[in-house]
Amino acid sequence: MKRLSLLLLGGLAMAAVAACPGKKPDTTPTPTGPNTDSIEAERRRADSIKQAEAEARAREAAERERQQHIADSLAAIGQTTNAVKTMLATLIHFDYDKAVIRGGDASVLDQKVSILQANPALRIRISGHCDERGSDEYNLALGNRRATAAKQYLVSHGIDGGRIETVSYGEERPADPGHDEEAWSKNRRDEFEILAGGDALKQP
């Protein structure tokens, strides 16, 4: 930005120099009157070309600045969008063989409610996951309960259920491949994924 301003200043300065009428040569009158006129005309023509060029440069610079403004504001929106996406993707976790939203996770879901309210075009998918301790096939049903539990929370806080899809992967997609409680507690989770309307998100 700073560099661009300097460039711009430079450009303006050059334009100013170019536009400034050059020191006229004090020519002695000569009989060649028509010639004097043609020289003067030639000079004016050159001056006007220079001026036009300078104006063009100035316009270009202004355009560059305008583009930069757009890029900057887009970046700002992008930053906001990414921040919102990160918030939206925050996981919630569950106790073993349970599909009840933990007290501490309610605030995480409240944040998602706000995001969904601030961005009416946003559609999401919630996927429920389990740890490896339970039965492989039962875990598909349990993961389904976990995804549904989060959806019900969002719907009960005013979000249209049509904007939320639920799926279950049981224990098939562990977040942590380990075989201890630390890994299991990470794997008993709901994930939140954007299906549509996530290009530019507003901060709630």
């Binding site: 492989d136 096939e137 098939e172």
Partner: protein, 466 residues
């Protein structure tokens, strides 16, 4: 001569039982406890011979292993069967391509040491009740002669034309012969010509019951789960994840072609189970209301029916009784998942495997035995899973395993063997247990194999090698 033989027999007789005892002890050490105690020596002894036909060694080896894995015999192995046969009083040991009259087909009997030239008293001294001799019968044919050692006669001669050793169908052809030997000796149907489907790394594989011939059968594009056989052994079904939905497929064994099951794939559909007549597929469907058991007519691709209705609990993992009248399934209506049973139309659901409320752990993965008398499942015991068997008539439940985590049992067609997943060796792999003797053996020594499904006896025309 007689005296020398007697000594030789004595030496061998001492060696053989020692080996068998050791084998059985190792199974007990692995933590299997069953109701029936196995006493060495109760089962009939059998010896498998090839005489002087080294070309048939692989046949003999496969058959001997099949017979061993049937767990119905004491398999007597001889160090160098040739020498024993040479010592037989009535050579020749190897019949010619055109056997002499009397060894024709089926039911020929002869006196001791006549047909096949076996020294019956010697094999009897070794503890053999039966001897199986595999001999060439001209061309690509072979003869399997089943001797009744105690009766001193040939019980049956089986002729078979085997594909070449390199043919993908070779091993299965030998397995079929093994099953015919079991039928000829004990009148019992065998399980040699069977295979097990299982899941590994999200793909479905099939493997022969003896651990050979592993092949990938599902697609590699989508993670798969829950393979299940049709009762005729010509088709199987499994589930694949398609963008968060579960789609069921029915695949033809012979052609390898598969088709998605109508009405599935719009929700999370899983755990398919064929009705015994093969016309209906029962499965679990998870929707926002919960998970319930449904059926769909796969013959006409229509007529989705919901069998269970549980708004606040889940119903899943259906398994048909072999008569097709009932379905056992898992339900969480009492809190933790337990085993229930209902009519095949969804009527009259009731508790199947009794449990102590608040004390008994989760019970899952039921599979009805092919003889209809039992349902195997696994149950959470002290934080790990163990395999249980429910007696359908008495509703008594007994625990089959106790060491390590043991889960997802599947019945062999003889209803006495079972494949399951266990981490008793340190990592999860597939094992096979014989419920009668308690003997266990690994089916696949590879980590990560799970969700096994044991086939029925495979029809010859299915030609299941992909």
């Amino acid at each position: 001569m007689t005296r020398a033989l007697g000594i030789a027999a004595l030496c061998l007789a001492v060696v053989a039982p020692a080996r068998l005892t050791a084998q059985d002890t190792s199974a007990v050490d692995r933590g299997v406890r069953i109701g029936i105690l196995y006493r060495p020596g109760v089962r009939p002894g059998i010896v498998v011979l090839t005489g002087r036909a080294p070309a048939l060694d692989s046949v003999r080896a496969i058959m001997a292993r099949d017979i061993d894995y049937s767990d119905r015999f004491e398999l007597i192995t001889l160090p160098g069967s040739d020498s024993i046969r040479l010592a037989a009083p009535a050579p020749p040991a190897v019949p010619g391509p055109r056997p002499a009259a009397g060894t024709g087909s089926g039911k020929t009997s002869g006196g001791a040491a006549s047909a096949g030239g076996l020294n019956y008293p010697l094999y009897q001294a070794l503890g053999a009740d039966f001897a199986v001799a595999v001999t060439p019968a001209g061309g690509d044919s072979l003869a399997v002669t089943v001797h009744d050692v105690a009766g001193g006669a040939v019980r049956r001669e089986l002729r078979s034309r085997l594909p070449p050793l390199t043919d993908p169908g070779f091993r299965m052809a030998v397995h079929r012969l093994s099953d015919r030997v079991l039928e000829a000796t004990l009148g019992a149907p065998g399980i040699a010509a069977t295979r097990v489907l299982f899941v590994m790394d999200g793909k479905v594989y099939v493997i022969d019951q003896d651990g050979a011939e592993r092949h990938l059968v599902s697609s590699t594009d989508h993670a798969a789960m829950s393979p299940a056989w049709a009762a005729d052994g010509r088709r199987f079904s499994y589930m694949e994840f398609w963008q968060g939905h579960g789609r069921l497929f029915v695949q033809d064994v012979a052609t390898g072609k598969r088709a998605p099951v109508a009405t599935t794939g719009q929700a999370l559909d899983f755990t398919p189970a064929f009705s015994p007549d093969g016309k209906t597929l029962a499965f679990s469907r998870a929707i926002e209301e919960g998970t319930d058991v449904y059926t769909v007519n796969i013959k006409d691709g229509c007529c989705l029916q919901r069998l269970t209705v549980g708004r606040f609990y889940d119903n899943l993992s259906p398994t048909y009784s072999p008569d097709g009248q009932r379905i056992a399934f898992v339900s969480t209506r009492a809190g933790l998942p337990q085993i229930y049973v209902m009519g095949a139309d969804g009527t009259d659901p009731q508790l199947f495997a009794p449990f102590d409320y608040g004390a008994t752990g989760s019970s899952n993965a039921p599979e009805w035995s092919p003889d209809g008398q039992a349902v195997a499942f696994h149950r959470d015991v002290a934080g790990t899973l163990q395999v249980f068997v429910l007696d359908v008539r008495t509703r008594a439940v007994r625990q089959l395993t106790s060491v390590g985590r043991n889960e997802d049992p599947t019945w062999a067609p003889d209803s006495r063997h079972m494949a399951f997943v266990s981490d008793r060796s340190g990592y999860r792999q597939l094992w096979i247990i014989d419920l009668e003797t308690g003997r266990i053996r690994p089916l696949l020594q590879q980590s990560g194999a799970r969700l096994p499904a044991w086939s029925p006896r495979l029809p010859e025309t299915a030609s299941p090698t992909p």
